[in-house]
């Protein structure tokens, strides 16, 4: 029996100060070119929280507008706003930086995040108004420290500074004097990932009416690594996040694989549920500070705002078949294998058509494809093109080669079976998964019958292999079968035993 997608959440955290302090484009520039024009101009290109909330792709990410509605808004989108936009959406929310910094401390169980007293006092009031920040969560927030101590920790103890509205409001301390894996930089990066993941988990249970106690297993699929010098990638962000979110009956583990990790993790989750190992498995990930302002130089050069100013997060619940929610088809899993090769057509054939061939399906038999849903507003000015569109053109071109569609219909294929991108360039966050929640709803509403989720990853960035990677799977409307075919009821078993005994008895009599 196939497992189902029972719910999903999508969150963003607006972190403009972390763009300046922690984005690798900026930290690298500070080292190689500290007096650069870019660094001088950067600050004036940062957006306000209100601008980020009303930015159309962000409203699509948290579920307040459908990607089809976003497609109706003429690009570029950076100068457009959704009127009356809310920070809270159908699937999640956009958290401002002050609340997020406090959430980082809430997620810190080793007393490494130090916050200014007055900052905590002011922000705690805001957090108390937050619908998902329950008393037990807020109780983890500490009263705070004197400003002097924080300045000292930053200037003398290598702590990573935390700013809000240009003011130093706290810091993340290093967890070890010598071990670089526990440096303030690494702890900061890992705590931001953890906090965005936790926010995704809290939204998942709240927005989908799920009992926290029912979750058996959590799989984290972010791109960070935690551990000390003796086990650099020791891991289990998943369990650490489940603890803060209050999933008392869950354990978990981490799945890694660059941007393809969320799709790998969803296939793993679906398999665990289908095998009956666990009933409810959550796949989730937090965001990545390193990628903040990644293409900032191009954005500033072109007079655009810094558009990579949010951390992303998501969570998806995979559960046993309830006869209602869309099913995950594990017989339609596609994969890029070691022998596939790296040419784009080999990659896309392995991910899209090889699995469809097994089921005698055409490329046009899949209603929507979700590959890499990066927001083109961010990537186009940076020279990476429109990534989702490039994927749809590749899938369409394969369709032409196979004779599934005619060449003249290539353009309409990219519209009918594709979407515009709306996800921030947070590595794994835009990869396939942004559509899972929307696809679930679209299938439940009867707007589409199925969708293919595709994750692709650049493994060569880790310098361990030159190979590319990717996996895919199909979700489709529930077939309404909640009982495994071929299984037998207790009544039937009793009948079979009775029949066997009767046969045995008659055999005895015959002898």
């Amino acid at each position: 029996m196939n497992s189902v997608i029972k719910g999903a959440s999508y969150i963003l955290a607006f972190t403009p100060e972390m763009v300046m302090q922690n984005g690798t484009t900026q930290t690298t520039e500070k080292i190689v070119n500290p007096e650069s024009e870019y660094l001088k101009q950067l600050e004036s290109h940062l957006r306000t929280y209100e601008q980020v909330v009303s930015y159309p792709p962000n409203q699509a990410y948290i579920g307040n507008i459908h990607p089809n509605e976003l497609a109706q808004i003429e690009q570029p989108w950076h100068d457009k706003a959704i009127e009356g936009a809310s920070r809270f959406g159908k699937y999640g929310e956009i958290m401002p930086e002050d609340e997020f910094i406090c959430l980082m401390q809430i997620c810190d169980v080793f007393d490494l995040v130090k916050l200014d007293k007055s900052f905590v006092a002011a922000t705690k009031e805001k957090l108390e108004q937050h619908p998902l920040m329950t008393a037990d969560i807020i109780a983890r927030l500490k009263e705070g420290e004197d400003a002097e101590l924080i300045s000292k920790l930053v200037s003398e103890e290598h702590s990573e500074a935390l700013y809000y509205n240009k003011e130093l409001v706290g810091c993340v301390k290093r967890a070890h004097d010598v071990d670089v894996n526990l440096s303030a930089h690494v702890i900061h990066e890992n705590l931001t990932s953890k906090a965005t993941n936790v926010l995704s988990l809290l939204n998942l249970v709240a927005k989908n009416n799920i009992n926290k106690e029912d979750i058996d297993y959590v799989i984290d699929c972010s791109e960070e690594a935690c551990g000390d010098m003796n086990q650099r990638g020791g891991g289990n962000f998943a369990k650490a996040c489940a603890e803060i979110a209050g999933f008392v009956n869950a354990t978990g583990s981490d799945v890694r694989g660059f941007c393809a990790a969320p799709t790998h993790a969803l296939i793993t989750a679906a398999s665990l549920v289908k095998a009956g190992t666990f009933k409810n498995v959550v796949v989730s990930a937090g965001g990545c500070t390193a990628k903040l302002g990644m293409n900032g130089k191009d954005h500033v050069k072109k007079g655009l705002p810094i558009l990579e100013d949010v951390l992303g997060g998501f969570a998806v619940l995979v559960s046993a078949n309830d006869g209602i929610n869309p099913e995950i088809r594990l017989d339609l899993v596609g994969r890029h294998s070691v022998g596939t090769g790296s040419s784009p057509q080999a990659v896309i054939s392995a991910l899209v058509t090889e699995s469809l061939d097994r089921a005698n399906m055409k490329i046009t038999d899949i209603d929507k494809y979700s590959a890499e849903m990066q927001n083109p507003d961010i990537t186009k000015p940076a020279g990476a093109g429109d990534v989702p569109m490039a994927n749809y053109k590749m899938i369409g071109a394969l369709g032409v080669k196979r004779g599934d569609i005619e060449k003249k219909d290539l353009a309409s294929f990219t519209v009918d079976h594709g979407m515009v991108g709306w996800a921030p360039t947070q590595g794994h966050i835009p990869s396939g998964v942004p559509y899972v929640g929307i696809a679930r709803q679209d299938i439940l509403d009867g707007k589409i019958k199925n969708a293919m989720i595709i994750g692709k990853g650049s493994l060569f960035l880790g310098r361990m292999t030159n190979l590319f990677d990717g996996v895919s799977f199909v979700i489709e409307a529930n077939q309404g079968k909640t009982k495994e075919e071929g299984t037998v009821s207790e009544e039937q078993i009793k009948g079979l035993i009775a029949q066997a005994l009767k046969n045995f008895a008659s055999n005895l009599l015959a002898e």
Binding site: Q345, I348, G385, M394, L410
Partner: protein, 108 residues
């Protein structure tokens, strides 16, 4: 262009001689191709990497340009690049690459 890649390009030019090298790009569109081409000819236009102010003047092409395509085995080219020819804006790439080669390549 990635800083580490700039460093490697510079080292190879010193080791083998700029006149013996050809750089082949695979960028996704015209402007990015032009920026990479400029980096290995006239120096890093973003002033970030080791090639800032270094005018190597290397011979540089995008793999989708006819000069490269004509020299590659047609079957291999079709297998490796064929589909992307339909996806990328090859004309735009050529339009960006040509003037940079004309202005800055020293070994054509």
């Amino acid at each position: 262009m990635d800083l580490e890649n700039q460093k490697r390009v510079k080292e190879f030019a010193e080791k083998y001689g700029a006149e013996n090298l050809v750089v082949v790009l695979g960028a996704a569109e015209g402007e990015a191709s032009g920026l990479a081409a400029e980096t290995v000819t006239n120096g890093d236009p973003t002033f970030a990497g080791p090639l800032t102010g270094v005018q190597l003047g290397l011979t540089v092409y995008h793999v989708c340009e006819p000069e490269i395509k004509n020299e590659v085995d047609a079957a291999v080219y079709d297998e490796q690049v064929g589909m992307m020819e339909m996806v990328l804006d090859v004309d735009d790439i050529i339009a960006e690459m040509t003037p940079i080669r004309e202005d800055f390549c020293k070994y054509l």
